[in-house]
Symmetry: C2
Amino acid sequence: MTITDAGMSISDMAAETGLTTSTLRYYEQEGLLLAQPERASSSHRRYPPQMVNWLTFITRLRSTGMPIRDIRRYAELARQGDATTPQRLALLVEHRSRVLEQLAEVQRSLEAIDFKIATYERFETK
Amino acid sequence: MTITDAGMSISDMAAETGLTTSTLRYYEQEGLLLAQPERASSSHRRYPPQMVNWLTFITRLRSTGMPIRDIRRYAELARQGDATTPQRLALLVEHRSRVLEQLAEVQRSLEAIDFKIATYERFETK
DNA sequence: ATTTGACTTCAAGCGCGCTTGAAGTTCTAC
DNA sequence: GTAGAACTTCAAGCGCGCTTGAAGTCAAAT
């Protein structure tokens, strides 16, 4: 936080979200933000503190495997306001079901791996 | 399966494992197989049927996010025989713990997404 | 005899999600 | 006022895991 200008610097935001400054610029370029950050001194980005929440949320979408292009679509809808709530809901519900499928597959694979581990352990103690 | 030669063709193997023929050649090139498949007619690959099991297993490793290079390492150990069982066990146990961590993070993110979905649904029925 | 199609090798290409580098500007501390 | 850190844009590069394309061989069917 600076005193001269309202809002957070890019490194403040990076520290807050766990993203790198490069990633923040990249996300902005890819249209993932709800609004362009303002500029202090006519060049340095100033993020509104509430943007932390948005970035945190899209980090959740990313960490569950949602591609950038889908997040962009979601952000576009969000920028259009409340009227697009149904579409956004649909996107999230669809995403959730894909995540649940993936999760189930990982768990099945994990069982196979556990089985193999058990085999090795039996071998060890023989 | 052909009659003229023992073993499965690459397309047999692809059908059996769900991998593409290209991926099978790629895995071979990357050193992921326990042994080079024999050749029929001095050029076409002939896979021993038991290689289905190995390929199925490494597909499980892949689907839980193990990188090719780690699978190669695992395959190298496996080729060296029973003496390397402890190392292989260690690799798998380590992998399992990474998978469990990832799984936990995905589940946390999913909760956040579920929360958002609930918010939207509340909005809808308001 | 020729066509079809499954195979071969080898190298290059691709999609994704960032990351890095260059070259320049601006802020902060001394 | 000057050094050094932090920022800016823009383009290129990278790591990963395949996929695709070109050019050729070989076997079986017509």
